[in-house]
């Protein structure tokens, strides 16, 4: 116990002796901590929201053009390609999903803002979202849409407007009626969502050909092996079509954001920069402490203290700084997460795994700073003391 306790106690006494330096060091760690929390929070939120629409799809296999980088920027392909899969005995039902971005007119301000429009045969039940399921009959009517009430507030307080009987607006300059709301959520690609029937979709986008589809959703008979059907179908399909299982589709969407889009890189970069800044500050503090205590350490070495003792002192200092910076950093980040959720409507959950990840990052950062700083201990040479 004394092996760690004595050096840790000395480290602690040194830290609290110089309050100004301690506070500076804590701020350094806190800064890194908050930066990493925010970067990770935004990144996870991005991935979660990017996959929010696909994760609510209900289907077993999905067809997508090979050039579709993600669902929100699709390249269309022929509906006949989807229809061909009906030849497979395990396939029960196939439905096209039409996806496009379009300007939506705010009912109150008349300002137009782009949102995502999903069109499909309502009876096919492509989305596993309560209100979308329940209102499939009403959605069949001409010029009707359902609005995502988790869309950004810039589209207007649709729910209240509907209650007040104001339900007429324009999408892509086409006049239609909002007949209800559902709950999906925004993503980096779309600030809002509406769903409508395939027929209405064609009315909103008059240049759109029903034969060109963005996504093909395949439902299999119960008991069919999805993997096996996937393999059999893919040999049947044209080579420019991808066939994904549900999990593969989600993975593909996430991969787009982490690899293809620079955003994954940007967040990674932000995280690394936060840690580097924290590292430099902690290193600087540890380094000057060793430099300041050089003579004292050399004296202790002369008295018989061994090199390892001082290494433990440095690591203990770094450990205390990690803890002292992490706790306020965590609390501050928690507040910022709530702020982000309420102000920019991004889901930012403070998950336990995120807390442990960030703490691990901060610990590694402080440990690295120690590794760099302990080289300075060599300057504490007892032979130069007399």
């Amino acid at each position: 116990m004394t092996y760690l306790y004595f050096p840790a106690r000395l480290a602690w006494r040194q830290l609290v002796h110089d309050r100004t330096k301690l506070i500076a060091a804590i701020f350094g760690v806190l800064f890194a901590c908050v930066l990493v929390f925010m970067q990770l929070g935004f990144k996870d939120s991005l991935y979660a929201s990017a996959a929010s629409a696909p994760s609510r799809l209900s289907g077993d296999l999905f067809l997508m053009h090979k050039q579709s980088e993600a669902m929100w920027r699709p390249v269309n392909f022929k509906r006949s390609e989807l229809m061909r899969t009906l030849g497979h005995p395990a396939v029960a039902q196939v439905s096209p999903l039409y996806i496009a971005l379009a300007p939506f007119k705010n009912i109150e301000t008349e300002v137009k803002r782009t949102l995502m429009v999903y069109g499909f045969n309502p009876d096919a039940q492509l989305f596993d979202i309560n209100n979308v399921r329940n209102m499939h009959g009403e959605l069949q009517l001409k010029d009707t849409v359902l609005f995502d009430e988790y869309s950004r507030p810039e589209f207007g307080p649709i729910r209240q407007l509907l209650e007040a009987g104001q339900n007429v607006t324009e999408i892509n300059d086409y006049k239609l009626k909002i007949i209800g709301t559902f709950q999906l959520g925004v993503s980096f690609a779309a600030d809002g969502n509406v769903v409508t029937s395939d027929l209405n979709f064609m009315r909103i986008f008059p240049n759109k050909k029903p034969g060109d589809i963005e996504l093909g959703v395949i439902k299999l008979h119960p008991g069919a092996s999805i993997k096996q059907v996937q393999a059999e179908l893919s040999s049947l399909l044209n080579e420019f079509v991808n066939i994904f299982t549900f999990e593969e589709l989600l993975e593909y969407e996430k991969l787009y954001w982490s690899n293809t889009a620079p955003i994954g890189f940007i967040f990674g970069f932000g995280t690394v920069m936060g840690l580097v800044v924290g590292l430099v500050i902690v290193y600087q503090i540890l380094f000057t402490d060793i430099a300041n205590y050089r003579n004292e350490f050399a004296t202790l070495k002369a008295m018989g203290y061994q090199h390892g003792y001082f290494i433990r002192v440095v690591f203990a200092s770094a450990f205390f700084l990690a803890i002292l910076g992490f706790i306020p950093g965590y609390i501050l980040s928690l507040g910022l997460y709530h702020l982000a959720e309420s102000q920019i409507f991004m889901p930012m959950p403070m998950s336990f795994s995120k807390v442990t990840t960030v703490f691990f990052f901060i610990l590694s950062m402080c440990a690295t700073a120690s590794f760099l700083a302990i080289r300075k201990l060599k300057d504490a040479n007892p032979a130069d003391m007399f």
Binding site: T2, E296, A302, M303, G304, Q306, M385, F386
Partner: protein
């Protein structure tokens, strides 16, 4: 009486090749248990260098240096650490840890002795501080003490582990006459009680009277061993 420090034909030089600078030449000296030896000599004559070799702080490779029955010539780090732990050092600078109180500084010496409890360490440290006349300054930090008081704390720190040898290099250099004499007086008195051997380097001729023996080092050679 057995010699605690036994040096034979010690040669030591700094640098290598053409830049070799011989500092100690054929030094031979033995110091017995309980003896108080003062070493004087002109600046640059090698006194400090000699002290660092005896204290196991610097590696020498020619001759024989036996301290506490350990051969320090070409010794391992373990042997040197063993010697250091039985040696008390007093430097010209006090080198007390600023964040620690006098009591905590002194008990740092005892933290290397694992068999003691914290209470025993603090009691012994407090007793030693009382012995150097600082019983009422136990919880003062170094910067709240005068120069002479700090040097007395470092004497307490050197002696609290009951070392067999005390090595001191100009311990009075930063003190005025009175506090210098007080500090060395306390050092000698406590060392005599504990039977500790003292090797003290000084330019300060006012304290020569505490010595059992005075040796003079000149140009790396002992003049009157």
């Amino acid at each position: 009486m057995p010699a605690l420090i036994d040096v034979h034909n010690l040669d030591f030089s700094f640098g290598s090749g053409e830049l070799t600078q011989p500092v100690l030449k054929n030094v031979t000296i033995s110091i017995n248990k309980g003896e108080v030896v003062l070493m004087t000599g002109p600046s640059g004559s090698g006194k400090t260098t000699f002290l660092t070799i005896i204290g196991g702080l610097r590696q020498a490779s020619n001759g024989s240096v036996k301290v506490l029955d350990q051969q320090l010539i070409n010794s391992t780090e373990q042997v040197k650490v063993k010697v250091r732990q039985q040696t008390g050092y007093i430097f010209q600078q006090h080198n007390l840890l600023k964040p620690l109180t006098a009591l905590q500084n002194v008990s740092m010496t005892l933290e290397m002795h694992n068999h003691m409890t914290e209470r025993e360490r603090l009691t012994q440290a407090a007793d030693m501080l009382k012995a150097v006349g600082l019983g009422d300054r136990l919880n003062y930090k170094p910067e709240q003490l005068s120069g002479g008081q700090r040097q007395r704390v470092s004497i307490a720190r050197a002696l609290v582990g009951k070392p067999r040898i005390v090595l001191a290099d100009e311990p009075t250099a930063s003190l005025d006459k009175q506090s210098g004499q007080d500090a060395v007086g306390i050092l000698k008195q406590l060392a005599k009680e504990l039977g500790t051997t003292i090797l003290l380097v000084t330019h300060d001729y006012r304290i020569l009277d505490i010595a059992d023996r005075v040796v003079e080092l000149e140009d790396g050679m002992i003049q009157n061993a």
